[in-house]
Symmetry: C2
Subunit: 467 residues, 2 copies
C-alpha cells in the first residue's frame, strides 16, 4: 500500500512522501533526503518548524523532530541553538542522480545451440535441495566462517575420490583447489605463472577466445599452436606453459592420441613445461569409456582442471584444480583476495558426489546427449549443403564443429540467417588464434535446449544450415 | 568393502589392487596406472598377456583386454601389431608423487573474540533452507546459466529496496554489483581505479591491514590518514580515493560527525575524490537509530559497500557495491573473469530480504550483541587494570577497542597470555599505517562465541586482560 502525500502550502514543502503504510520518522527522513537531493529543498533554505510540518502532515511532532535529528546527524540539515534549521549548503552542487546505467537485457535465444551449455532444465533440483537440507542440518557452525582458501575439506575429499574413479586423476584433497568456475581457475594459474616469470602461454588453435583473454589480461602473450586429427602439434609448442583439451578438443572435437599424449608429457619433462589440462567435458564420451586424464600419466607435470558447469550448471560457479605438489602454494597464494566461493553449494556438491546422485545425473545426461548427437548427425546427413564434420571428431561431449560448405554462405551469412530464425550458435572465426586461410565453420552446442524443445530447435537449426 | 589382491608369481606383477568391490576393467586399469607410476611396472617392461593376467586374477579375459586398451589410449602402455604389450618408456623419469602439500590445520580458538565475526551458531538455518526450497522450486532454468556479472536482478532489486530503507542508500538495481565478499568488492574498485590512472589510496589510520594489502597488491600506494574522535581527518587526505568507515570506524569505533561528513563530501566534489564507504556493520547501532549512509548525501561521489558477512555469515561470500552511475561500467568491466558468485545463495538472500526474515534476524542479533557489549563493559569496569576505551567509541557494532593500561603488559605479552588461555583476540599494532608512538591496544570482537559459551568466554577474556 503506497500513499502519496504532498505537504500543503503552509509548510512550503512538496514532499511526495512514499510512505508504504509506515508514517514514521524514518519514512519522513527519507522523503526529506529525496527532496534535498532533487533540489526541491534548496541548499541554505529553512525547513518548516517541527510543529508546522507535523500539523501539515497530520503526524506527531516527535516524528518530525526525530527525522530532523536524524538528518542533522547525517549532515543534510544544519541546526544551531536558537537559529532555524536549514538545509546544509555543502550539498548545493546539484547532487542529482545521473541517468541510470543501462541495464543489460537478459535474453535467452529461442533455440539455443551455444556451445558449452548443458540442459539446464534437467538440473537435478530435487537432489540438490535434499543435499542442501542435509548440509544445513549437519554442518558445524565453524564452516560458516571465513573458509579454507582451497575450498571446504569435505568437498575436496569427495572430489579426490570422484576424480580418481571417473577420470583417472592422481590427486589428494591437499592438492585440490576449488574455484569459482574455470575462468577463475585459469586466472589463478595465469597469475601464479606470471609471478614465477612466465611471459607467454601456448593455446590450441582454435580455442575459446575468452580463456586467452584471461591470460592476456595478466600481461602475457598467447601463442596459437595448430591442432590436427591427433591433437595439438607438440613439436610446435614454444611457451613454458600450454593449455590443452586432450579428452575432446574444444572446439574441433578431436581426442589426443596416445603417442601425442606421451610426447606432450615428455616435452613437459625435458623442457620443464607446465601443461594445463582443461577437462571441461571429459565425463561425456558416448562410444566407449572415457579416456583417462592426461594428468594421471604425469601428476607432477600437469595441472588438471575440471568443472561442474557442464555436468550440472554454470551458475554454480564450481570448478576444481588438481595441482602438482610444488604448485599448490603458489596458486593458493593468488587467492588472497577472498574470492573463494560460498560454502553451501560446495558442501551440497560434496553430498551429491558422496551419495551417487552426481554420477547418476551424469549417466542420465550422457544418454540424453548421445541421443541428441545422433539425431543431429542424422539431420545433417539429410541436408543438401555439403557441410563436413571435422573428420576426427569423436562421439563425445556437448558440441559439434562443422566446416561450412565452401560453395554455400560464409560465417557471417550463416550467423545472420541463424539470428533471423532465433537460433543461437557460434561461428569458428573468432576461435582461431593465428590469422590464416581457415575454412569457415560453426560450433553447435546441442545440449542446451530443454528436452521438449530439442526437436523444433533441431528443425530450426537444420533450416538455418540449409538455405 | 576393500579387498587387496596381489598378482601371483606367475604374472610377475604385484598389483595391490584396491577394488572396492568392483572387479572390473576400470579398477584393474587404475591399479595398473598406479603400478606404472610407482615404478613397480618398469618402463619398457612387458606386461603379462591378457590370458595370463586374467587367469592369475580370476577375472574374465575381456576385463584385462579392456583395461589394457584403455591404458593404451592413455599412453601408459604401448601395443604394436604382433609385438608384446610394454610399458611406455616415456614415463620412465621417475614420475613419483612429491610429498603431499602440507594441509592447513583448521583450528577454531576455544574462546573466539576475533573482530569481524558474527555469532555463527545463530545463523538462521531454517529460514535459509526455506528460502533455498522456494528458490529451487521457482527459479527459471535460465538462471542456472552463466549469470549477469552484476549479480541476479532479483537480488539487486531486493537489495536496493533494503539499502534505501535500512541505510538511506540512494541507489537502484542497475547501480548495484553483487560481489564475493568485500574483499572482492574492494579488489574490483582498486583495479578500476588503477585502470583510470589512480596511483594511491587513502585509508584510515588505523584500519584493517588485509584491505590495504589488496590495494597494494594492485601496485598502488596506501596513505594512512589519522582518525580522531570525529572520524577521519579530512584535511589530511591526499589521494584521489579514500576508503572510510563512517558509521563505526574499524577498529576505533568512533562515528563520523555531521560536519566531518559534510567536509568529506565537499572534498570529494571540489577535488574530484572518490570516497569508498565501507559500511561493514552499519546495521548494528545499539543506542539509537543507525546513522544513514554517507552515500545517501552524495550518491555520485561515494561508492557504498555493504556485506552479509556480519549480519549472516562470512562463508556466504556475499557483499554489494552501490556505485555512482559513471563507475558502474568501469567496475563491472573488472569482473570479466567470471568471478561472480553462485546463484542459489544469492537468490536465497533475495528471498530473505523480501520475506522480512533478514530484518528479523538482524533485529534479533542486534539485541543479543547489545547485551553482550553491556556485559563486556561491566566486566571491564570491574578490572583492576586501567585499560581505557577509546573515548568516542559509540554503542554499536561487533567489536570494542581498548587502549591497554600503560603500566601493564604490552601487546605481545597480552597476546601470549591470551593464547595460553585459548582466547583469540587481535592487538592494535598491525592495524596502524604510519609508524609512531601508538598506545598499545587490543581489538575485541564480542559477537563470535555461541550464546551458551559467552559467559565462560568473557571470564577467560577478563582473566587475560587482568594479570
Amino acid at each position: 500500500m503506497t500513499r502519496e502525500r504532498s505537504g500543503p502550502p503552509g509548510s512550503g514543502l512538496d514532499l511526495h512522501l512514499d510512505w508504504s503504510g509506515r508514517p514514521d520518522s524514518h519514512a519522513l527522513a527519507e522523503a526529506l533526503r529525496a527532496a534535498i537531493r532533487d533540489g526541491r529543498l534548496a541548499a541554505g533554505s529553512r525547513v518548516p518548524s517541527t510543529r508546522a510540518l507535523a500539523h501539515d502532515l497530520g503526524v506527531a511532532r516527535g516524528t518530525v523532530t526525530r527525522a530532523y535529528a536524524q538528518l542533522g546527524t547525517e549532515g543534510f540539515l544544519l541546526s544551531r541553538q536558537g537559529a532555524p534549521t536549514t538545509v546544509a549548503d555543502r550539498l548545493r552542487s546539484g547532487e542529482r542522480a545521473d541517468p541510470p546505467a543501462p541495464r543489460p537485457e537478459p535474453r535467452s535465444p529461442r533455440w539455443d545451440f551455444r556451445p558449452g551449455r548443458p540442459n539446464l532444465s534437467a538440473f537435478p533440483r530435487k537432489d540438490w535441495l535434499a543435499a542442501s537440507r542435509r548440509v544445513l542440518r549437519s554442518m558445524p557452525a565453524d564452516d560458516l566462517d571465513y573458509g579454507d582458501p582451497q575450498g571446504p575439506p569435505a568437498l575436496r575429499e569427495a572430489l579426490a575420490e570422484y576424480l580418481r574413479r571417473a577420470r583417472a586423476v592422481h590427486t589428494s584433497p591437499e592438492r585440490l583447489i576449488v574455484c569459482n568456475g574455470y575462468s577463475e581457475a585459469l586466472s589463478l594459474i595465469s597469475r601464479a605463472l606470471r609471478a614465477n616469470g612466465v611471459r607467454s602461454v601456448d593455446f590450441e588453435d582454435p580455442s575459446l577466445p575468452h580463456f586467452r583473454t584471461i591470460v592476456e589480461d595478466d600481461g602475457m602473450r598467447v601463442h596459437g599452436i595448430p591442432v590436427d586429427d591427433d591433437g595439438i602439434d607438440v613439436g610446435a609448442l614454444r611457451s613454458p606453459a600450454a593449455v590443452v583439451t586432450p579428452a575432446h578438443q574444444f572446439p574441433l572435437g578431436v581426442t589426443m592420441r596416445a603417442q601425442r599424449r606421451a610426447a606432450l608429457i615428455r616435452s613437459a619433462k625435458t623442457e620443464g613445461r607446465i601443461i594445463v589440462e582443461d577437462d571441461y567435458d571429459g565425463e561425456f564420451r558416448f562410444d566407449r569409456k572415457p579416456v583417462g586424464s592426461l594428468q594421471g600419466m604425469a601428476p607432477e607435470a600437469v595441472i588438471y582442471a575440471g568443472t561442474a558447469s557442464k555436468t550440472l550448471a554454470p551458475a554454480l560457479r564450481i570448478a576444481w584444480l588438481a595441482l602438482p605438489a610444488r604448485l599448490v602454494e603458489p596458486v593458493r597464494a593468488m587467492r588472497t583476495h577472498g574470492r573463494y566461493g560460498p560454502v553451501f553449494d560446495q558442501l551440497a556438491l560434496a553430498e551429491l558426489l558422496r551419495s551417487g546422485a552426481y554420477d547418476q545425473h551424469v549417466r542420465r545426461s550422457r544418454a540424453a546427449y548421445r541421443q541428441r548427437r545422433e539425431q543431429l548427425l542424422r539431420g545433417l546427413d539429410g541436408l543438401r549443403s555439403r557441410h563436413r564434420r571435422y573428420p576426427a571428431g569423436i562421439s563425445a561431449g556437448l558440441h559439434l564443429t562443422l566446416r561450412l560448405d565452401p560453395d554455400g554462405p560464409d560465417e557471417r551469412e550463416v550467423l545472420a540467417r541463424a539470428r533471423s530464425r532465433g537460433v543461437a550458435l557460434e561461428t569458428l572465426g573468432p576461435w582461431w588464434v593465428n590469422p590464416g586461410d581457415h575454412p569457415p565453420g560453426v560450433v553447435i552446442g546441442y545440449a542446451a535446449p530443454a528436452e521438449h524443445a530439442f526437436r523444433p530447435a533441431l528443425a530450426a537449426l537444420l533450416d538455418t544450415l540449409d538455405p
